[in-house]
């Protein structure tokens, strides 16, 4: 793999139940990049993440850098509140030693003893931060996020993106993030893939997110404004 690359995807095709979900997708991710996968509901974004994790059969090439560790933060965990689970228990399921659990929880802004709290008692924002922390167990170089803002209130959203940006800087993380939220792309990513089963655009958001590409992505009229930093 070329110098500095952590992931290379070439001509990826995914079929589920005889339906084409992703067609002819190619992209590369450099170490330390933040790649956002943008698209409407049902566009194949989550399927792409799962395919990258090796959970879904595919055609085409997916090549991760040798020995790379990947952390995954899923979109929703609807059954987790069925079980009386403390945060410490949740981390134990991944084999995280107590000291590491405390250190990671600390890095996402929780104080000592927080790990004794019951998962069912957390707010949606706290739960999302716990999920991010869970993804960090084992010191991964890459984190994959599936819609990290689902069900999180607006005030907590800001905190979570700030947290992701902070962690990315501190831990030298490469982040792949699925979203349908356009504002996230400008705030957070070095590159964006616009996906609606087929790739529609790919590159730095300021260059590739044009009114035309967004219209092709979402269909109809899209309110468009460009962030300039």
């Amino acid at each position: 793999m070329k110098n500095g690359l952590i992931l290379k995807v070439k001509d990826l095709n995914v079929l589920l139940n005889d339906q084409s979900i992703i067609e002819s997708l190619s992209f590369e991710v450099k170490r330390g990049d933040a790649l956002t996968i943008l698209g409407p509901n049902g566009a194949g974004k989550s399927v792409l993440l799962k395919t990258l994790l090796g959970l879904i059969p595919h055609r085409g090439e997916i090549e991760w850098a040798k020995g790379v560790k990947i952390g995954f933060v899923p979109q929703r965990l609807p059954f987790i509140k069925d079980i009386p689970l403390s945060i410490k228990d949740f981390f134990n399921l991944k084999g995280s030693p107590e000291k590491e659990t405390e250190a990671i929880l600390n890095s996402v802004g929780f104080k000592e003893d927080f790990s004794r709290k019951k998962i069912g008692d957390l707010s949606s924002g706290q739960f999302q931060r716990v999920l991010i922390a869970w993804g960090l167990v084992g010191n991964p170089q890459v984190l994959l996020f599936d819609e990290p803002m689902t069900g999180v209130d607006i005030s907590a959203e800001e905190t979570i993106y700030n947290l992701l940006a902070k962690l990315k800087g501190e831990m030298d993380l490469t982040i792949l993030l699925v979203t349908h939220d356009l504002s996230v792309v400008y705030k957070f990513s070095t590159d964006v893939i616009c996906l609606n089963r087929q790739p529609i655009c790919y590159g730095p958001p300021q260059e590739v997110l044009t009114p035309e590409s967004l219209q092709r992505l979402y269909g109809g009229e899209v309110k468009y404004y460009q962030h300039k930093h």
């Binding site: 959970l55 990947i70 899923p74 965990l77 059954f79 069925d82 079980i83 689970l85 403390s86």
Partner: protein, 254 residues
């Protein structure tokens, strides 16, 4: 204290404890419901065992395996809800049983009879319950993660098919052991009620799993003690003791 009573008590505590512990895994994703149809489906096996005088669990076991294959087929091949499966399996199990089981033996098949457990049966039950506890302890965290999210478990490289197979095997064994105690009709309660009680009272996974085990053992011993005092059948008394502890847990719920 007579030996027969002691034997029943030891089997009751072991099987009740193991059922409670396994039940704590089955409560999420509504798996506890599966024990219901499986229990009902063992009725023809129990009937055969009673008619020909062999161990009830031995008679029940092949039928549980058949039930698990049936559930697997239902899940894989149809989109029918679990309630439909319960209705089909329950009705068929009971219908086949009453075709050929003499009515005077029906009570033991329906609500169990632990009071006449023989020494060899008791030893086998206790050993199996202990082995089951060890296996469940070993797979516990993996199954919890699978219950939370199969994707998350897969991303942690957990072999879901392998663990589900072991898990279903454990359910088959506990149902086969449970029918001896509480009969084909009440097996689901043996796994579901202690776990529900423990869920009301616990704040973490250790309290939940071991709590369900202790409550399962306690319910069985209370039920068997009450049987000794009153002479009512032990199976329903075990379930009623379990229900009573559940009601108390609702009051104590944090």
């Amino acid at each position: 204290m007579d030996n027969q009573f002691l034997l029943s008590l030891i089997v009751g505590i072991s099987v009740g404890g193991a059922a409670g512990y396994l039940g704590s895994l089955m409560l999420s994703r509504r798996m506890a419901l599966v024990a219901g149809p499986l229990g009902h489906l063992t009725l023809p096996g129990i009937a055969l065992a009673l008619m020909y005088g062999f161990d009830v669990s031995l008679g029940a076991f092949p039928f549980v395996i058949f039930g698990i294959i049936l559930i697997w087929l239902f899940e894989m091949r149809t989109k029918l809800p679990m309630e439909a499966l319960t209705a089909v399996v329950f009705a068929s199990g009971v219908a086949i049983t009453f075709l050929f089981l003499p009515i005077e033996q029906a009570e033991a098949a329906l609500v169990g009879d632990i009071s006449r457990v023989r020494f060899a049966e008791a030893i086998i039950s206790v050993v199996l319950a202990f082995l089951l506890f060890l296996v469940v302890k070993k797979i516990y965290s993996k199954i919890v993660l699978i219950n939370i999210s199969e994707e998350l478990a897969q991303s942690e490289e957990i072999n879901i098919k392998k663990y589900n197979l072991i898990y279903l095997g454990c359910i088959a064994i506990i149902v086969a052991l449970g029918v001896k105690m509480v009969g084909g009709l009440l097996t689901a309660a043996l796994v579901a009620i202690p776990a529900s009680t423990a869920r009301n009272l616990s704040r973490n996974l250790t309290q939940y799993g071991f709590g369900a085990m202790i409550i399962g053992g306690l319910s069985s011993s209370l039920g068997i003690l009450t049987f000794k005092l009153t002479g009512f059948p032990a199976g329903p008394l075990i379930i009623l003791a379990s229900t009573l502890i559940f009601l108390i847990s609702l009051i104590l719920r944090k």
